[in-house]
Amino acid sequence: MGAEVHGTQSFDKKKRAEIKFSDAAMAEVKEIISHYPPERIKSALLPVLHIAQAEFGGWLSPETMDYVAEVLRIKPIEVFEVASFYTMFHLKPVGKCTFEVCQTSSCWLNGAEDIVKYIEKKLNIKVGETTRDGMFTLKTAECLGSCGTAPMLQCGASFHENLTYDKVDKLIEKYRSENRLRSYTDKDYQNTL
């Protein structure tokens, strides 16, 4: 497992030198850092990783993590330890839209498995894979707190609930035509509560 996740990834010094938050992202990072006592800025790590992931291609490359370490003045290993602990941080490249289909109890009771199978067939990928055009990645997720509106999937900041095959079709169509990276930090979320 070790080699698969980080051993094969190289560290590209040139790429690293190019990584820098945009002014808008940096302003957001600074705002977050202001939430804590000055000697506790490591606390900003999770929110800052979210911003970094959205800013640098939807995943956290070793170069990105190294940059975040520099911004927060901590060791790179501290960033890696945290990034690899939480499920929302992708350590490998993903598609522009990552579908995370909830599969825990209530969603399963309401047909989540069928939704997963349907998406697999429709996009011609298996769970964990990305479409060849780099548009969609399919993942399964554990309980996302939509049990009353099951089955559901999350894509970036948006919750898509009470799913039917029809809804999935429309969703794929819409996202494909919009053709942009969907991040958890997106401000134009749609939810269907």
């Binding site: 497992m1 070790g2 996740v5 980080h6 993590m65 060791k75 290993i77 890696f80 690899s84």
Partner: protein
Amino acid sequence: MKVTIDGVEIDVPKGTTILQAARMIGPSVAPPAMCYYTKLKTSGGYCRTCIVKVTKGSTANPNPMPKPVASCRTEVMDGMEVQNFTSPEIVEARKGVVEFLLINHPLDCPVCDQAGECKLQDLGYENGSAKTRYEFKRREFEGIDIGDKIKLHMTRCILCYRCVKTAEQITEKRLHGVVHRGDASEISTYIEQVIDNDFSGNVIDVCPVGALTDRTFRFKQRVWFTKPVDAHRNCDKCCGKTRVWLKGEEVVRVTARKDMWDEVEEFICNSCRYDHKKKSDWVIEGPSHISRASVISQGHYEHLNELKVEAMKHQKALGFMDIDKRP
């Protein structure tokens, strides 16, 4: 503070943990510990092998504790009563913990350098079951070289966090840590960096299993064919007091000295560990004390000189020739 462990009472200072108190009484009541390490702050609590049953909280509050507690992280209260080996419940629970630690362990002792000085072997032998009930594929990881001196076999790791705490507390810079989570957790550096600083070799000594081994010693000898001696040298980085493992006249490896609980007495520097592999580098004090329970004690004579003097006395008395002057 008075505490009773398995029926033996002892008076200990405030702040003593149950495990420390039990060790003061002796090995007959001391719980096994795989992750706790006296010299590492905040160590312990993870492996759960040292769990004990507190049947009486204290004189002031005699209620028992509802669940077994990790003795390494629980401080004694005055009048506390603890059951360890005398509690069938604890013995059974510990058997469970041993089983959990072993289900994903490769059991590759025949090719593991740690065999013979492995705490997991001892734990399994003393507290485990002879059979496994696990029938699935075990977790697998590739072996990784962390620099030219340390080999990481993640498959053998029990995630005791000792090496992480050592790197944080003993060395200048921590370059490795625990990444991922759950049973996918692993010890890793950030993008396979080389762990290299003056005290990094100590992670090998604190590792209870064969997850972190000395590459300069790798596959050279089974430990029970070597002779450990206590030795020292003048060192400007560390105490210079080490254990030198000899095979004939050859120094096959250098480690820190360990106490009766298999914990490092004083951490040593990499220069002592790796760069002084000649017998003449060291002032040899004499054979190291090895527990009789250890396989290393076979063929190991700690009091050889005294025995020789003793023997000669007898021989002289009997009118034999001096054995050192034989033709």
